[in-house]
Amino acid sequence: MTINGWIEILVFTGIVVLLARPLGGYMTAVFAGEQMPLSALLGPAERGLYRLAGIHERDEQPWTAYALSLLAFNFVGFLALYLLLRLQGWLPLNPAGMTNVPPALAFNTAVSFVTNTNWQNYGGEATVSYLTQMLGLTVQNFLSAATGIAVAMALIRAFARKSARTVGNFWVDLTRGTLYLLLPIAVVMTFVLVWLGVPQTLAPYADATTLEGAHQTIALGPVASQVAIKMLGTNGGGFFNANAAHPFENPDAVSNLIQMVAIFAIGAALTNVFGRMVGNERQGWAILAAMGVLFVAGVAVCYAAEAAGNPLVHALGVGGGNMEGKETRFGVALSALFAVVTTAASCGAVNAMHDSFMALGGMIPMINMMLGEVIVGGVGAGFYGILLFVIVAIFVAGLMVGRTPEYLGKKIEAKEVKMAMLAVLCLPLAMLGFTAVAVVLPAAVASTANAGPHGFSEILYAYTSAAANNGSAFGGLSGNTGWYNVTLGLAMLMGRFLVIVPALAIAGSVAAKKTVPESAGTFPTDGALFVGLIVGVIVIVGGLAFFPSLALGPIVEHLAVVAGRTF
């Protein structure tokens, strides 16, 4: 590890923390429907959309209607994307002449983009047309992100309200999140990326003759706009197969920094929105601090493992950190940092190949996802995810102060615990369940690139990434098979909607509760003690179930490498 590396990590963390408050203030205003400079420009569009859809802006929904609207909207989004993929060969804006996508892959891809996962069993430049990229994938990049933010807003409102029947209006939250939050930032970011050299064109792929005289086709397209929203909305689906490691997606250290900040910005700011809306910003900082502790710990381990390098390679006389699968323009520190950021948030964009990380370096991204991506997390998803852990933590520890546990004046009772456990449970079910079946299916095992524990890690990583709606891949695994297309798709659906529905149920139940005034008997949820408690509960409740699988994957691989054993 180098001082330089740590300074880069520090600068990144500092920017995210500094952005949380102003962006949080802006978002609070957006979702409260306040007038702002952008209203003059976008207000007519917003009202036009409501009129078109027959939505009354002030009509709020109880949690059930909110959830049904969300599910219906996402189902329609899935169908539209699926059809687009299946029919793209016959549709316009297809200069590279891409064919229709086969059913299993289309299912996987449609689910993947609707669930904000962006797992890609296809190579963008070899499979999808410009129309699909723009009208299908990029549109879902916005909408799946806005869906996540909407759920978080419903939950935040629930804690901020007293004895309320409703949690907000899904259609309004969706529209405002897209129009006032995602769109403007994405537009600005697109221009900055173009300025930094990222292509944005509808022209066909360029033909070039290299210095050696070889003929080469260079893939192009509307890259910058998709990169902007894939980071901002923690989608992560690359325009190119190489994702953010591709120089056209991520040309240099500056674009790399902007993209990493974009991944964390909204997730971190949501904690501030929460603090503002419940009337005590410290409550939000406490949650961000808990995320921060887990984040820095992850970065330290990952960076240390990558910087230490591979002893088997050292034995061959090549010193230094592990550079396999990394871009030289980013180096060890920024690759490790990016890997932790992209998996802590449910982004899944990669600027280095996680498959080539050291065993422990690759374990950190996996743990981040297994914990449910609550370390900042996917936009919205990370926030409602960590609140589920907060509920579990408050319930267990809150009892220890001798009262019925309460969080922000809301009593945490059987219903909240039930829903939180349901959501917490669905992750190990999808991650461990599918992995357990896949590792004994010869056809599924055949897709792995490596034998031994590393092959195991490839499968485990795939289902973990899918269920956590991350979308990053451990490389190695060839996922475009019938089995993986279907099962990974199912894992993504479980990890998304089996968390969203319980989270909204909690919102409904919490909103209806009275708020108990704070007293000396309520334990403070804005201090270091609470931060430590949350971290402990996330690691123990969220992480312990995965210890056996980690032992059989990265841990044993690491120990074997240290001992000089290969598979």
């Binding site: 007293k162 579990v392 319930f395 267990v396 520890a397 809150g398 009892l399 220890m400 102060v401 001798g402 009262r403 019925t404 004046g409 945490i412 009772e413 059987a414 909240e416 615990v417 039930k418 456990m421 917490v424 449970l425 190990p428 461990l432 369940g433 357990a436 079946v437 590792v439 004994v440 095992v445 031994g452 524990p453 195991f456 708020t515 108990v516 005034p517 007293s519 000396a520 008997g521 309520t522 334990f523 003690l529 430590g532 408690l533 123990i540 409740v541 312990l544 179930a545 995965f546 210890f547 056996p548 699988s549 032992a551 059989l552 841990i555 044993v556 120990l559 074997a560 240290v562 001992a563």
Partner: protein
């Protein structure tokens, strides 16, 4: 019931509990506890597999046998914990049952009565109970006065007075009339009397899971499912790695990971909480009420008897100008000699203490005592032609002022106002139509009560004093006692309004009361403690009954409620934190055969894979027994504020929960190896 054995581990309870532990293996009883039910299922499974292996000659029989034995032991220990807790309740129930002997009742019919069996009485029947009779069932005195021995329910042998009308009209079946007679209207049918309900409560027969217990059970069931997933996925992971894991080892891992510690002790904690209340001579009508007690935000306390001693006492003689204090004391003492009220007696005592004025014989004074009446609001004495009067200031002064309103009267009035402002009650004393001065009667705030209120404040509980006094007096006493707020000149409607207002703010309110007019407020409050001496209506309205009729006990009740919740939280935290060490014991042992590198995870350096697994499962079983005393006694509550309390408990049960099993499992491993068990 005061003479209950308080010892935690009494052989009379422990021995029958062993039998109870075996009986509780009945699936119908186990199903109520999801965690232990799952343990029972997997234990049965491994037992069957062991039997199969024994016939077919499978490998490692000795090791599997030991694991299976410890699995059964784990189950039995859990049952034992519950049986011990129940046994303590049963012992009390038996004591109560002995008082419930079959009685004969004198059913009033026309002018006379006929004798019928006690159990045939119906609600509304009127019975005659005379000296020496046992009151056949719960009821209300409608005629007569009698002294009653209620030792059967309160443990207090001093008889109490029960009379018709007023707030002391309730009688309890099974208690004995010592003197006189009463007519009682029966208010409870056979089998549902107060004592019957007490028996059912302390026995735990009517125990229903409280809301909080239900929520905790859901959490534990959820954790169990998480670990089901963690364990059932292992065989396929292992087969990928080219190895295998025996079912018995998987079961051992599973049972040690799921929260068996809290699962085993959960019902014992609940039963013990009720039991602790009973030891305080408080009966909770439901577990829900005990839990609510822990959550109380506002405590409504009656001034008289709770905050102040029941009676006012003379504190000072304040003469008007031109009168010696001793002269005033002498007159006041004479006027009070025949006054048997506590106030009157306290004047005699003060006169003796301060001025050495001795008691005098009424006979030799040839005195005539003038008793207090509601009309005159004065009492006094006429002797040797001298008339002394003492009483309410306005009443005494009016008799004088009718003659002349002189300086002395005005001065007395001023003194009286001053006394009232300081929270005292003034009594004017006059001799032969001349005012001598004022006796200052003071409400005596109970010793140590101020500290108790400070303690409550640190717990986050607000105390409100309820009094019939005027606001001025109430404010002075409130300040002296250190309560947070007061409700002066309170009517029952005011009380009810105050409770509703607090509840609308989301607060939980506790109060105690005894009179019929307290009943609506008792019913409205979240924790309503009725005094045992109170009326039937009050006892029906509250959700707890204090057999000692001591309103101060509300504070202890709150503490017991908090203790109950804390104990649950502490043991849950401990149970979950234990998993870290158990993983480090079992995971390397499980996979060592095909991944020898994982030996590095064996941080405890346990001797062999078998001893590691065995040690973990033994630790898991023994920790249940080791924690039974804590579950029954409860985690100690300290009024230090929630933050400090949480950090302390997190340190002990969270961090301790991580560290203790590392030490415990290592120690057991050393023992297992030394004994050659594995």
């Amino acid at each position: 019931m005061k003479s209950r054995s308080a010892s935690l581990l009494d052989a009379r309870i422990l021995v029958p509990a062993i039998g109870g532990a075996v009986r509780k293996l009945d699936p119908r009883s186990l199903i109520h506890n999801p965690v232990m039910f799952v343990v029972a299922v997997v234990t049965l499974l491994t037992t069957v597999l062991l039997a199969k292996d024994a016939f077919t000659g499978g490998g490692q029989l000795g090791f599997s046998f030991q694991i299976v034995v410890w699995l059964w032991v784990t189950l039995l220990f859990a049952n034992f914990a519950e049986a011990v807790a129940e046994g303590r309740g049963k012992a009390q129930a038996d004591a109560l049952r002995r008082t419930r002997t079959e009685t004969e009742a004198k059913l009033v019919a026309g002018d006379g009565y006929r004798t019928v069996p006690g159990h045939s009485l119906k609600i509304g029947d009127v019975v005659l109970v005379e000296a020496g009779d046992i009151i056949p069932s719960d009821g209300e005195v409608i005629e007569g006065v009698a002294s009653v021995n209620e030792a059967a329910i309160t443990g207090e042998s001093a008889p109490v007075i029960r009379e018709s009308g007023g707030d002391r009209s309730a009688v309890t079946g099974g208690t004995e009339v010592l003197s006189d007679w009463v007519r009682v209207r029966i208010t409870a049918a056979a089998g549902s009397t107060f004592i019957d309900r007490m028996i059912a409560l302390v026995e735990g027969a009517e125990r229903q899971k409280t809301p909080n217990e239900i929520a905790l059970n859901i959490l534990l069931a959820g954790m169990t499912l998480v670990f089901v997933l963690a364990t059932v996925s292992i065989p396929s992971f292992v087969s990928y790695a080219g190895g295998g894991v025996p079912v018995v080892v998987l079961v051992a891992l599973f049972v040690t990971l799921i929260p068996t510690t809290i699962g085993a002790l959960l019902s014992a904690i609940g039963i013990a909480g009720m039991d602790r209340l009973v030891r305080f001579n408080v009966l909770a009508m439901s577990g829900r009420a005990v839990e609510a007690a822990g959550d109380v935000d506002t405590l409504l306390l009656d001034k008289t008897g709770t905050i102040t001693l029941g009676n006012r006492q003379a504190a000072e003689f304040r003469p008007v100008r031109g009168v010696e204090a001793r002269e005033l004391a002498d007159a006041a003492q004479l006027a009070s000699l025949a006054d048997e009220t506590p106030e009157g007696r306290s004047i005699v005592v003060l006169a003796k203490e301060k001025y050495g004025i001795r008691g005098r014989d009424m006979e030799s004074l040839h005195a005539r005592f003038i008793p207090f009446t509601a009309q005159t609001r004065m009492s006094g004495i006429d002797h040797d032609g001298v008339a002394i009067r003492k009483g309410a200031v306005d009443a005494v002064l009016r008799t004088i002022a009718a003659g002349r309103a002189d300086a002395a009267v005005r001065e007395a009035q001023a003194i009286a106002d001053e006394v009232a402002k300081s929270g005292g009650t003034p009594l004017a004393v006059a001799r032969d139509g001349r005012v001598l001065g004022v006796v200052h009667l003071k409400d005596i705030v109970k010793g140590g009560i101020r500290e108790r209120f400070a303690e409550l404040r640190r717990m986050g509980i607000r105390t409100v004093m309820i009094t019939g006094d005027n606001p001025m007096t109430a404010a002075a006493i409130a300040a002296e006692a250190g309560v947070d707020d007061f409700l002066a000149e309170a009517t029952p409607e005011d009380k009810l309004r105050l409770i509703r207002a607090e509840q609308a703010k989301g607060k939980l309110v506790a109060m105690c009361g005894d009179g019929t007019n307290d009943a609506p407020a008792l019913a409205q409050s979240d924790v309503g403690v009725a005094m045992n001496t109170g009326t039937v209506a009050a006892r029906e309205a509250g959700n707890m009954v204090d057999l000692d009729s001591d309103p101060t006990k509300l504070i202890e009740i709150v503490e017991i409620g908090k203790q109950l919740l804390m104990t649950r939280g502490a043991l849950t935290t401990f149970s979950i934190a234990n998993d870290v060490a158990k993983y480090f014991a079992i995971i390397p042992a499980m996979f060592l055969a095909f991944y020898p590198e994982l030996g590095a995870l064996n941080v405890m350096r346990l001797a062999t894979p078998e001893s590691a697994i065995l040690s973990a499962i033994i630790f898991n079983a023994l920790i249940i027994v080791a924690l039974i005393p804590l579950a029954l006694r409860g985690v100690r509550y300290r009024p230090v504020g929630a933050g400090a309390l949480l950090s302390r408990n997190l340190l002990i049960y969270g961090l301790g929960g991580i560290v203790v099993p590392f030490v415990g499992i290592k120690a057991i491993d050393l023992a297992v190896t030394a004994l050659g068990l594995a």
